[in-house]
């Protein structure tokens, strides 16, 4: 069954005033300018980016990882044949899971890896250990940097820029970069972790932004190998900065608002026109990772939410189709 829910707009509750900037990203890094040329504002039509929007779904990590790799393979094949292909963006949430990068050290795990509280995956991305779980929006841009800037530093700074703009324009939270520590920080709290893999200039893996995440699982690791600093979430920061005013936003609304802002800022920073796509079921079949890549596996209850069958809007439309609309037609 094709997932159609993603075609329907979700109505947003009223948000704080937005100071949205419709500008692509210009890097102000101190890297020598010969390596970081300024992006000029282009008058050309933005490039297309297909978006697989699963932001309300908890997707098993292994599935999402396999899916990314298939998309990367397809793009590399197109590039080999000199065929153009659109960029891709996947946005989703994960079940609780720890992931390691290629060179990650197990010393940053505060538990015995053979007896881990959640699944642990060793992946091919950069960076050290991190946690993914419900309430955290994860973005996997799979883009051809040949169509943007063939500069990994620029790409990482641009991903940070997306999150910085979301926090500023939607929540009036001033976030920043920390030199030498990739990610997005509010004070000494890291709210978004970023780590990528690049294969022939095609990127995958990406960023994880804590929105309403339960941060407890981060205590079992040294997140990203950085000691003496904390992890934060948007919900936590809003609670700190704006204690209860009697007008609270529910977790689900916070996720909705953040998701909408992430897509918009991503589109602006990378100058991409977002085209929502449905997900072919074959691309979403579970594949079991090989033993040496999945470090431990817990028997999780896979909560694959079928949005088609349970989405109220979809049910309403089906109801109208078979009753009222048929009657008047």
């Amino acid at each position: 069954m094709v997932l159609v829910a993603s075609h329907f707009l979700i109505s947003m509750p009223a948000c704080p005033p937005r100071k949205h900037s419709n500008k692509p990203y210009r890097s102000h890094s101190r890297t020598p300018s010969s390596k970081l040329n300024q992006l000029s504002l282009s008058n050309e039509r933005p490039r297309a980016c297909e978006c697989f929007d699963l932001y309300k779904d908890l997707v098993p990590y292994g599935e999402a990882w396999s899916w990314q790799k298939r998309i990367v393979m397809d793009k590399k094949a197109s590039i080999e044949k000199n065929q153009d292909c659109p960029d891709t963006l996947i946005i989703l949430q994960h079940h609780p899971v720890y992931t390691l990068g290629t060179g990650s050290s197990e010393e940053y795990l505060n538990f015995d890896i053979k007896n881990a509280p959640y699944d642990v995956y060793r992946t091919e991305r950069g960076g050290e250990v991190t946690y993914h779980g419900p309430g955290q929006l994860v973005m996997y841009p799979i883009i051809n940097l040949r169509n943007h800037r063939m500069d990994l530093h620029w790409y990482l700074r641009a991903l940070e820029e997306v999150v910085i703009r979301v926090l500023s324009s939607t929540f009036s939270i001033e976030a920043s970069r920390l030199d030498g520590f990739t990610g997005v920080w509010v004070g000494d709290k890291k709210v978004a972790a970023i780590a990528i893999r690049v294969s022939q200039w095609v990127t995958y893996h990406g960023l994880a932004l804590n929105v309403t995440t339960d941060l407890t699982p981060f205590h079992s690791i040294v997140p990203c190998g950085i000691r003496n600093r904390q992890v934060g979430s948007i919900k936590g920061l809003l609670g700190e900065f704006q204690p209860s005013t009697g007008c609270e936003i529910h977790d689900r609304q916070l996720i909705d608002i953040t998701h909408a802002s992430l897509i918009e800022e991503f589109s602006d920073v990378f100058q991409l026109a977002i085209h929502y796509k449905t997900i072919p079921m074959l691309d979403f079949a579970e594949t079991t990772p090989t033993q040496n890549l999945l470090v431990t596996r817990k028997d999780l209850l896979v909560t694959r939410k079928d949005r088609v069958f349970f989405d109220p809007l979809f049910l309403l439309i089906i109801f109208l189709h078979y009753t009222y609309l048929d009657f008047i037609i």
């Binding site: 010969s34 390596k35 990068g101 990994l152 970023i194």
Partner: protein, 165 residues
């Protein structure tokens, strides 16, 4: 880093004897982005170099590549005995939370890997053409070398790539 190689290459250009032992002479001591490109090597457009000496070819990434990557913190290498194919990935280098594939310029069998890179991945930054070599390969199709770029073509390629981005 690149400055040491530049100094040595400038000394060569000016015919000033260098204290260091004889090395491959750089074809161009100064490129637009201060990366060094050496004579006697062949280059891939994905920024790897290959030095073919008899039965074995040594492979690594170029000064241009390491300069753009920044500090290399981890290097992933294949096992000796494995096969590599031209244009295919044989390993990866990690810097700044980004891990990038490294591709083989030629096909063949991996006969040796530079195990020093495990403990000292920064050798790729400090000595990309010498101590930072990554793998040694027994070429299966020596004619593949003809399809690679020479020093002048590679330098021009880098300049065009930098200018476009």
């Amino acid at each position: 880093m690149a400055l040491r190689v530049w100094a040595s290459s400038t000394a060569n250009a000016l015919r000033i004897s260098s204290a260091s032992k004889a090395r491959l002479s750089p074809a161009f001591s100064l490129s637009r982005c201060f990366s060094t490109v050496l004579d006697g090597l062949k280059y891939a457009s994905s920024h790897e170099w290959v030095k073919h000496e008899g039965a074995v070819a040594t492979i690594g990434i170029t000064d241009h590549a390491q300069d753009h990557l920044g500090e290399v913190v981890f290097v992933e290498l294949p096992e000796p005995g494995g096969k590599v194919s031209q244009g295919g990935s044989f390993g990866a280098v990690e810097s700044v939370k980004a891990t990038s594939d490294v591709n083989s310029p030629i096909s063949g069998e991996v006969v040796e890997v530079n195990s020093k890179l495990t403990g000292s991945p920064g050798l790729i930054n400090s000595s990309p053409y010498e101590e930072g070599w990554m793998i040694k390969v027994k070429p299966s199709s020596p004619s593949e070398l003809e399809s690679l770029l020479g020093p002048k073509e590679y330098t021009k390629f880098c300049e065009e790539e930098d200018a476009a981005h």
